[in-house]
């Protein structure tokens, strides 16, 4: 019982916050509930296929292929693949986290994964279209170039940091499959 409460402590806290809000600010509570429900529907629709794709990738995509395409030796080509994959219209960022974890387990480099996540969040093609419409071409272009540069720098820096001191908790937090295969195989 205690363990269950511990595991779900944050969801429980949030339910309490909702209860408090309903009591003191019913307007906001109603709005919050509606937003939560909308997002729940979206997640319920998007996440199952995402996790199934991730499972299929774990099983089928060979490690050496990912290492070759996205690993630390993949250079500019690997970086380009990561950015292009990220900009495709594929949905909200939280979808990308399990996929990224899976790719890292398969040998993708930290730099490339920071580029992948960053362009997923900041440089999505449909998003850029809307941005051009409301904020203009020069704003959008400048932001695109600067963001891409920043992501590359952050990626390279994080790669260096992880190379020097790998995250020990990381191996556990990236799932049982990784530890089952042996942490020694992880390439960062």
């Amino acid at each position: 019982m205690m363990e269950l409460i511990k595991k779900f402590k944050f969801p429980i806290l949030i339910v309490l916050a909702f209860a408090g809000l309903t009591f003191w600010m019913p307007d906001m509570a109603a709005r919050s509930t509606k937003v939560t429900w909308d997002y729940f529907q979206e997640m319920a629709l998007i996440l199952p296929p995402v996790f199934i794709l991730m499972g299929l990738m774990e099983i089928w995509v060979p490690k050496d292929k990912i290492q070759k395409w996205l690993g630390s030796g993949s250079g500019i080509k690997g970086a380009a693949i990561s950015v292009v994959l990220g900009t495709l219209p594929t949905g909200p960022l939280y979808v990308a986290f399990p996929m990224t974890a899976s790719l890292i387990r398969k040998g993708a480099s930290i730099t490339n994964m920071v580029l992948f996540l960053g362009s997923w969040a900041a440089l999505k093609i449909p998003q850029l279209m809307v941005e051009i419409k409301f904020l203009g071409v020069s704003f959008t272009l400048l932001r695109f170039v600067l963001t891409l540069t920043a992501l590359l720098l952050i990626g390279l820096l994080m790669d260096k940091i992880f190379e020097k001191s790998p995250d020990k908790a990381w191996l556990e937090s990236t799932g049982e499959e990784a530890t089952a295969k042996g942490p020694g195989k992880m390439k960062m």
Partner: protein, 159 residues
């Protein structure tokens, strides 16, 4: 809608190929997927709840009022904080940013709002930590925050 079609289409194709190649391995893939989904359930629910609460309190109108009423430096800092915390769909953000710009907000304020919004995700952090670990998440978001501020600064000067 495009998202849903893309993802389900992709899954459909991959599933068919996988099933044709090996039923056994497909089953195994489903097992991995189910386990991963169950493991992320608590953080998923947390993110959902936090997103709901924040968006319920910080409506587009509330943000416009907050950022619009303050001027200069305070507005920019406020925009950075709101941008880092919230998770707003781009279809809502860009029209909002456009109208803020027309109603007198500076380019720097608007770009800091957008860059922090897309580069820093405090609300999605629990999920990111679950998948990628605390260190990765902290570094990516922390460095992203500083990069967002610098990018906005450059944009404010150039535009």
């Amino acid at each position: 809608m495009a998202t849903i079609i893309t993802i389900y289409g992709l899954m459909g194709i991959c599933l068919v190929v996988s099933l044709v190649k090996s039923k056994e391995k497909t089953k195994k893939a489903f097992k991995i997927a189910g386990k991963a989904l169950l493991k992320s359930a608590p953080s998923l629910l947390t993110v959902l709840g936090i997103v709901g609460l924040t968006l319920g309190i910080l409506t587009p109108e509330a943000i416009a009022k907050l950022v619009g009423e303050e001027a200069g430096f305070t507005a920019t800092i406020l925009a950075a904080v709101i941008g880092s915390i919230t998770l707003i769909p781009s279809l809502v953000v860009f029209p909002l940013a456009g109208s803020l710009l027309r109603s007198g907000a500076t380019v720097m304020t608007i770009s800091v709002f957008i860059t922090t919004l897309v580069m820093v995700g405090i609300m999605t952090a629990p999920m990111e930590i679950k998948s990628l670990g605390k260190k990765f998440t902290l570094l990516r978001n922390g460095l992203g925050f500083f990069a967002a501020l610098i990018i906005a600064g450059i944009m404010g000067v150039l535009l």
